[in-house]
Assembly symmetry: C2
Homo-oligomer: 340 residues x 2
DNA sequence: CTTGACATCCGAAACGTTTTGGATTATAAT
DNA sequence: ATTATAATCCAAAACGTTTCGGATGTCAAG
């Protein structure tokens, strides 16, 4: 229905070549004809066929983002923020964003093969990097452009942005220690995620520095969902010996912790202090508002995207590895340790 | 880097035509050669170039979803659920999902023109339909396949799924009325959204049926964010005369209501009852857990997507207009009206 | 031996764009 | 008047796939 270059050319009695070059702004077409072409294209409502462009130019002008989803649905605000950031930045720079979801595992690398080898996208964004991440190995091996949110323990060189999770968790521990807490539990994320182990390591280090003892049974592993935080907390508060504070590896689990404790009649901020990690928008509206380690997810998403686009445009990055320092946002979910 | 049909053909001493037809499963290629081709393609890691396929077949095998975002970031879990549902269903049926964001307004229709006329996508998903929605007008006019989440007040025939917002809000009012509430405030969404006015209409009707008076100054319009719910609530609780219950047009605003009231020391569920709409995953983990009208966003997203794909495959839909009945999930944010 | 019917394969065109390597014309320099 | 130079245009090839309309060979029936 919309016209093709051929139609415009016919109408103006020009060749397809000239119309194409006129629209692309080449200097070898007369200014007067260029204006005629632009005007006609405008009037006729010309929109280029991207399939043809892509075939010819061998680039898709699109970036891919494969969400590593566990279970069919993901409702983690972490991902919304990411998609918003990536989508806005990509759109601003004229790139399409192609979204897919695939659970980690067998079919995952096949999905990456599809997206990359089919020339659907020119580059990819990777998030939630894992230990010995097969996705990173694949992309580096095939020399496919990508930028990650999260570093790697592989000895591979690739661009990424990451937040210092060791330091962030240390802030949480120090905050609680200053409030007099000595019995602190830690709800970790899945062990295969790189940031999980870093944050847990930060916890261990900071506890040692504060001369606090970490109790083995107070370190539990969840899956980053509210329900997991909820379930683990019931388990945690089951025995006679309670921690007075809980640090969760992300806000969603922290919300689960608060809900579970409150269901048991425990006052958050007085009887039990809770700290999260992420500072998702809802953290400020939780009850009580959640003390948490802030990382600028939206901004990281735009950073990662614009880095990728720089790479795609053939530029070299000034900084290939960016580490951001998080900061602690103190709200009302933490308070002085209860006296015994 | 990956091989093209030409390479496979050369290796097997066949024509490109035969290789193509073999892989596509045409019956006019011998079973034995078909197997040779499939095997070679497998070994050589063949992945078709989608740009070429799209150009030739005049279809993109992709669907588009343009998020009508207000402000640069959207962190509404409503959209995450939608993206998850659309993405999973599209992926399952072999379709790509192309995501863009554009604020309602001038540039919006231009974006739709781009997506549709450029053959980037074969069909579109529309959400948050508006009064006299220009997007619907554009798509219908250009005869472009789409399915909407939300009906229309235009006299246009197009397929959609919607949730009966009048009925849903009625449930909320009746629930509060049974609890003895007589002074109920309503926080609406933007007036140009179709569901906003329907829900507000449901509120008005139900209030009348219950012989309750709606106070003009207790009907406020927000923008569906927590912060808007927060701000409006401070305004609402400012005067000497308070409502005993608030119904919000969505959960996010309801969360803002609770946070604002609690900051004033008001007990939610006792002194003030709050009802939301959506039943986002966090509603159950709010404090107190939020009473809300449940609509199955994820399932609607998959329904809408599979309807669109049916249309794209040339099938006619059994039901072009599906209305779903929501139900009320009672949690602890509502309770008996306080005595005077 | 001829004919027809199948089974199997393939050349060439087409999709819509960009790019390459001229071709043509006008202009300026000699 | 001739030649070099610049300005402007365009035909054809190419990107990788699918499809159309045969071409070729085989085999059974007549």
């Amino acid at each position: 229905m919309p016209p093709r270059l051929k139609e415009i050319a016919a109408r103006l009695d020009l060749s397809v070549t000239t119309v194409s070059r006129a629209l692309a702004g080449y200097p070898d077409v007369a200014e007067k004809t260029r204006q005629r072409v632009v005007q006609a294209a405008q009037e006729m409502g010309y929109v280029p066929n991207v399939a043809a462009q892509r075939l010819q130019q061998k680039r898709a002008n699109a970036i891919g983002f494969i969400i590593p989803t566990f279970g069919p649905r993901f409702s983690d605000p972490f991902f919304s923020e990411l998609i918003a950031g990536i989508g806005n930045e990509a759109g601003r720079q004229g790139y399409d964003l192609l979204i897919s979801t695939v659970p980690p595992g067998e079919r995952e690398i096949e999905m990456y093969r599809q997206q990359t080898f089919s020339h659907r996208v020119d580059g990819m964004i990777l998030v939630r990097t894992r230990h010995q991440d097969p996705r990173i190995a694949f992309l580096v091996e095939n020399n496919f452009p990508f930028v990650a949110f999260g570093g790697s323990d592989q000895n591979l060189d690739f661009p990424f942005v990451d937040v210092d999770g060791v330091y962030g968790t240390r802030l949480a521990v120090e905050h609680l220690a200053h409030l007099g807490h000595r019995h602190i539990a830690y709800l970790s994320g899945p062990d295969n995620l790189l940031f999980s182990t870093l944050r847990r390591q930060g916890f261990a280090e900071a506890m040692a520095d504060q001369d606090l003892i970490v109790e083995k049974q107070w370190i539990l592993e969840g899956d980053l969902t509210e329900s997991s935080g909820h379930a683990l907390t019931k388990q945690l508060l089951n025995g006679t010996d309670h921690p007075t504070a809980v640090i969760a590896a992300n806000d969603l689990m922290a919300m689960g912790v608060m809900a579970a404790a409150q269901a048991l009649g425990i006052q958050i901020g007085q009887e039990l202090s809770v700290v999260g990690f992420d500072d998702i928008p809802l953290a400020a509206y939780a009850n009580p508002p959640l003390t948490t380690v802030h990382q600028p997810i939206y901004r990281i998403a735009t950073m990662v995207t614009s880095m990728l686009i720089q790479v795609l445009n053939g530029h070299t990055l000034a900084e290939r590895k960016k580490w951001l320092q998080p900061n602690l946002v103190v709200r009302q979910s933490t308070g002085p340790a209860p006296a015994f």
